[in-house]
Symmetry: C2
Subunit: 525 residues, 2 copies
Amino acid sequence: MMELIGTSFIGHQRGSESGQIFQVTNPATGQVLTPSFHGATEQELQKALELAEAAFTPYSLTSPEKRAEFLKAIADNIESLVDEIQPRMTGESALPEPRCRMEAGRTCGQLRLFANLLEEGSWVNARIETALPDREPVPKPDLRSMLRARGPVAVFCASNFPLAFSVAGGDTASALAAGCPVIVRAHCSHPGTAEIVAGAIQQAVISCGLPEGTFSMIFDQGRQLASQLVQSPTIQAVGFTGSRSGGRALMDLAAARPVPIPVFAEMSSINPVFVLPGAMAERGEMIATNLVSSVTLGAGQFCTCPGLVFTGGSDSFNEVLSKGFSEQPAATMLHQGIAKNYQSCLHTLSSQNGVQTLAKTEASGSQGGPAILKATHSEFIANPQLSAEVFGPSSLVIECETGADMLAAAASLEGQLTASVHGTEEEIANATELINILAQKAGRLIINGFPTGVEVCHSMVHGGPYPATSDGASTSVGTASITRFTRAVAWQNFPESSLPDELKSINPKGITRLVNGIYTSAPVS
Amino acid sequence: MMELIGTSFIGHQRGSESGQIFQVTNPATGQVLTPSFHGATEQELQKALELAEAAFTPYSLTSPEKRAEFLKAIADNIESLVDEIQPRMTGESALPEPRCRMEAGRTCGQLRLFANLLEEGSWVNARIETALPDREPVPKPDLRSMLRARGPVAVFCASNFPLAFSVAGGDTASALAAGCPVIVRAHCSHPGTAEIVAGAIQQAVISCGLPEGTFSMIFDQGRQLASQLVQSPTIQAVGFTGSRSGGRALMDLAAARPVPIPVFAEMSSINPVFVLPGAMAERGEMIATNLVSSVTLGAGQFCTCPGLVFTGGSDSFNEVLSKGFSEQPAATMLHQGIAKNYQSCLHTLSSQNGVQTLAKTEASGSQGGPAILKATHSEFIANPQLSAEVFGPSSLVIECETGADMLAAAASLEGQLTASVHGTEEEIANATELINILAQKAGRLIINGFPTGVEVCHSMVHGGPYPATSDGASTSVGTASITRFTRAVAWQNFPESSLPDELKSINPKGITRLVNGIYTSAPVS
């Protein structure tokens, strides 16, 4: 068993114990966990930045196979540590053992998926146009382009996924895959978990013989180091998963730099669910039962938790929901701050005019009690408070009198990660107008399903218009997330030997490229 | 001959004459041109925004074939007006007839290239993963994603390309191709040219039966309407080509919105050229001769004009440059403001410590006199003024004593659109370090060539790190520019009939897609 020491990871080294000290509490027991953690000093952050700067060129020029080996080494190291990670993670987050093990599996699977992507190689979007030296009035040059690493990336860990959206999570995996060194800012509610995972990455950097600055991780309880990190000229992009206020603060800092950089923040979503009348008549109670599971899964602490349900009004649907929610026990949330925020948001919501609480499980301390509330469409349209995110195991049913009400509600929504529609076969075929509105509001549209469960694959879009994400265009889950940390570069009239392998005429890896307008994996003839 | 009336284009209508009046002067003659132009009123801008908002859903859902037909209609209309456009364009910009005709050809070619892209269809980056209902522990859903239009786009026209980067230029063509309605803000130095082109687009909107708000164009001499346009909740992205100060002002406005939006600004670049010793010995005089042509082409008014030349120092090279520049006549610039700014920047540059003017053609009024200057590497490194953009027909030779000096100079550069290296075959093969540095600084790397001449094709990258562009990652020229105006959307568990054609299993258009990790144009079996 590795002993935790509570200091940052600065390249191959560990940080000092001279920074600000903070402690972490087991949310389930209130017990203070050992050791104490030491925030990085400004000098340590500076050192991590210098190392990342120095690492960028050599790391970005490693072969894709080398980076794949590195990602797989990280996955192997994490896998070998799961028995250490799980109890610490449960102690820091109250997430139960099966969830911790599943999240570890997801994290390792994600790292290996990016390794496969690198080994296959076509993700670089290679485009080749060959020269036409005799073209009139001017010759056409040989011009080849592909995606390259942007530069060192700062990653801010999420509170609600101590593994899959944290130290070795999706942002880190995609940035490292792209060829960008990463400096992680650990989340201060699960620093012990972060320390074990950072050790796994540091070991992989060393065993793969990569530049020291490929990876660093700083502890930091306040906001000052975070600001310095985002404002450093070394940092070329930011990945963040967390609150809307936190994400927006980083966006504003990054936009105000002398050289602005992009922030890819995944922030807030209430994930509306629309239940059309035919589906309600056919299987309303089943939908209600599944909705209870989706809302209360992981104490509702998912960015895809469905927080708004639009129906035509159904007593039996509401009864199943009421019964289901009242039977769900209160659950310990990730930390006391989240639980307090949940209770406070829930209180605000339930105090709004016309909002009726159908069922609520009482809870105190770090616990969150599941709750289901109800209001009418006209109250929803009149009061923006009814579409504010309540992060936790609650949902609000909005009863609409007409289909037009549902369309108006959909049109009034802010940007979302997901939107779901339940309908009969015929209803879905005729729901074009609703689906078209939702396609402008959300990153992922779901038919007859629930938004929790975010598949890590090539076609996932875990994104959506602001405030779901900062840029509204990309995904933070799945292989397409790698392009966030790249930029396009073109090579004009280069000799074959000086081109990157992906752009060489012989196409050594046989990747799929766009050659003179045709997608092909053949060499350029 | 169409008579110009000087009012904005608000959907199918023309604006009133009640806005602020401005006039335009022929830079070659000083003559005031008729008619007077009328800035749009706030009400007219509001109307254009409302029309664009209403047009977004129906226009974004038109078939790619319909949008291709529209783009080709615009090209046909412009082509039929070239004999009207050319004299007006020459009158407003002093650009000679052949350049005007070539730029018209480029503009129409660009529109037709996007039409071809839409007809082929694979640009949407369709990704399909089919369901695994029996997977343990949880089933895998059917998940399909592709790029969709972002929303209405504001386009700001460039002064230096009255056609190719203006009303029907690259930003407009790529946004319309993506399915985004466009509101253009005409450049106030060539409003007559803008009016003719806007008429060509308006006609195409009508003849193709597209929603009225698909296209509007406002005249506006000040900054207030421009700010309102960028701040409107309707606008979802901005395209801009122009000065660094103008682009940054738009970036700051867009980032401060309640819902921030991306600005794709192409702003400033000095396009460094490196001449390695072997190439200098072998063909220094030829390189110098070609450099004179590249710098003075179009009175130096290209974003790709090479403003910095790094050499090992060569008297014969400098002599050819001096002779070449002194033989180049002064040329009328686009407008008096640009000419004054050029003279002022050139004066500032030539007054810097250690900067020597090798040759300079005298000029006054709206004319710009070609100039070639020289300084040493140590002066370059010590004084950031030596790497400030001078927009016009001048260049600065920096003499480096060693190869290490060249590397240090390259590393000190800001973001650039292009970087060029001249070397012998052996030098290029050994210039890995220089090329790797430049690949981090520029969007396009050129071997043994000059940066002017931006090919419009699939593989062009006309982009580069800030301040060359705002986002540092994309291109504003070529087919890849379309993705700026899109966002990724995923469809989960949709029935075949409700999916966009591009994602249907039968693959009706036979586009290339990523299906379960394999690139294929086959149907999903």
